[in-house]
Subunit: 418 residues, 2 copies
Amino acid sequence: MPFHTHTLANGLQIIGETSPSARSAAIGFFVRTGSRDEIQAVSGVTHFLEHMIFKGSERRSYLDVNRDFDRIGAHYNAYTSEENTVFYAAILPEYLPQAVDLLADILRPSLRTEDFEMEKKVILEEIAMYDDQPTWSAYDNAKRIYFATHPLGNSILGSPDSITALKRDQMYEYFQRRYVAKNILVAAAGNFDWPAFVDLVARQCDRWEGGQPGRQGIRETPGSGMFEVMTKAKVNQEHVLLISSAPPADARLRHAADTVAMVLGDDSGSRMYWALVDPGLAESADASFHDYEGAGAYYISFSCEPGQAEENLGVTHDLLRDLQRDGITEEELHQAKSKILSRVVRGSERPMGRMQAIGMAWTYLNRYRSVDDDLRDFDAVTLRDVREVLDRYPIDRVTTLALGPLEKLPRPNGNGQK
Amino acid sequence: MPFHTHTLANGLQIIGETSPSARSAAIGFFVRTGSRDEIQAVSGVTHFLEHMIFKGSERRSYLDVNRDFDRIGAHYNAYTSEENTVFYAAILPEYLPQAVDLLADILRPSLRTEDFEMEKKVILEEIAMYDDQPTWSAYDNAKRIYFATHPLGNSILGSPDSITALKRDQMYEYFQRRYVAKNILVAAAGNFDWPAFVDLVARQCDRWEGGQPGRQGIRETPGSGMFEVMTKAKVNQEHVLLISSAPPADARLRHAADTVAMVLGDDSGSRMYWALVDPGLAESADASFHDYEGAGAYYISFSCEPGQAEENLGVTHDLLRDLQRDGITEEELHQAKSKILSRVVRGSERPMGRMQAIGMAWTYLNRYRSVDDDLRDFDAVTLRDVREVLDRYPIDRVTTLALGPLEKLPRPNGNGQK
């Protein structure tokens, strides 16, 4: 499928993969800013700002934004991660002009003080709600202790204190500094006309300030190695999350890391599935590879009856020790590849999937990656690559957080020997 | 895209929509049986049987089934509804033979007594888990009181009593009677070769008993009109669900009913969104149209702080009364169409979506429906159709269930007058 790029004079980048046989199009505005780009005093401002974007611009009130999206039947939303804030819409091809107009317009928000104070309450409720979800809470706290002083440990939502103290002008300052043209990528995929798309984006975005993009603290970390038990009496199950280091988003070894995580903790047929879920020792078990700019991590988790947590932690340490020592088998490699190739293909079948894929590839690798590029790289993973990634990033050197009713949980000895 | 059909000598039907540009294929076995086909003594047997299907056949143990699916990287699962049990897999095209072999093989399960007793515990846990989910519990109980003696009111999961009492031989009898060739449709979509597919299915399925398909109690119902408050002290929010009657799955007016539900209760920009969610009166609000064989229903719901439930119920009744009396506006019709057309197109972009769509169309209409057929029919809905569907199926004649901490909730007067 044809791929195109264009850069506006102010530095804003536009990319697109056109697919004339598609029946829809997807557009995304990728702002290269997230919780890792925040200082502690404004913790949570990126996510709060994402909400404020939908509150309206000079040309549109909050009601207008909602109605204009609905009028074109757009499937639209946004999300904030540690390093990206992404606004996107999937639409029928004929509504491309309206969708670009809307997304570009709201990215220059009014940030009205009245809306800011109203939305602050929503954010505080969201923080309380997420705090009640043990899976999220375990994830957020495990990340915090693993990354320690590394900025990837910053909370995405912020704290009740930081949000309460946040002023509209602090958000405006952050917006002006981070939502600059040089920090923004616009991506489209599906059925659309490239030159017309570039014109539409340029018409609205070429007046935006170029600005100075940038990010502090890009570095790897082996993790703190801490072991913490957070007691939450109201939670029924014990949620245990182990984090170990893995390759960053642009590493050659990232495909091997994904393969290792799949063999260890995919939701069916993985080592953790057979050792913990199938025999009924744990309600759920999972391992996945998360890649960031300059760093990466494996997230390895299970949830179970509290009385079962100690044994399960022992089983998990044994699995990690065996994996670290012996790697994976040829049969496991083959099975993991089948699953990953199938996942990549299925993820590529909608313009929304392709838009996200080309946007992320451009963000992290600064180059185009076709579906076939991804398939080829996953298919090329060898047992030697798996050995190499384990040697460089030992998966059994973990930081551990347990969250649930337990008041204590014995720390297994060494690297999993019991 | 080319559509094909074939019927085996024993009555098993095979359909397929081939799309050579797709990169994957999806296959589904649609068994035309569900909770509505159960008698009370075996309540829950359909869903329990769906689980048992994955426990193995003469040729495969439970482990073999899991490993064989994983080996081909299949994305696979199954679900049981009021009237269908569907087993499906999405795969890369080269694995079609293995996928057909696996799905067809497990549909002749061994139903080993030992596996049956083990799985019974899993089902009982699943019932307890769902019972703890207020949204599901409200849905299940509202359906029960709305349909009353109509078989669509049967519980999909069954009760702890019915499952505990169920014997392996009762399940086997149900299996032999319902999983017959004449009651099964095999559908495929995406990148696959039609003649080869028919051969693969025929090779395994042509020995299956033809059997006698059939279903009792196919009729419409206006609903009981009951109003019930179920007190669950442990639940935080009050969950209120109103059901009114709507057209059945094969009715000409089904597209108008879908449009009405979208205008009333889509998750963004609908009347319920602006009246309940946007001002913060309710946490969530929703209306949707469910169509069944011979009957249909609108499900209209909200969840909120218990103290807010009475006012919200009044607001909802007002919305229903206004909608019933005045219908919808030209602008609302246009907006709903944009959303529905966009939803239909996005749902059609993967073989999995098309396989489900052609399978359901064949099940309920006994004919092929292309994406363009669906788009044309939705686009053709007029304000007169909306008036007609409201006249024939008054949306404000509701059956109501409230589930949550409240001990009582006043029933609004008449059809929503306060």
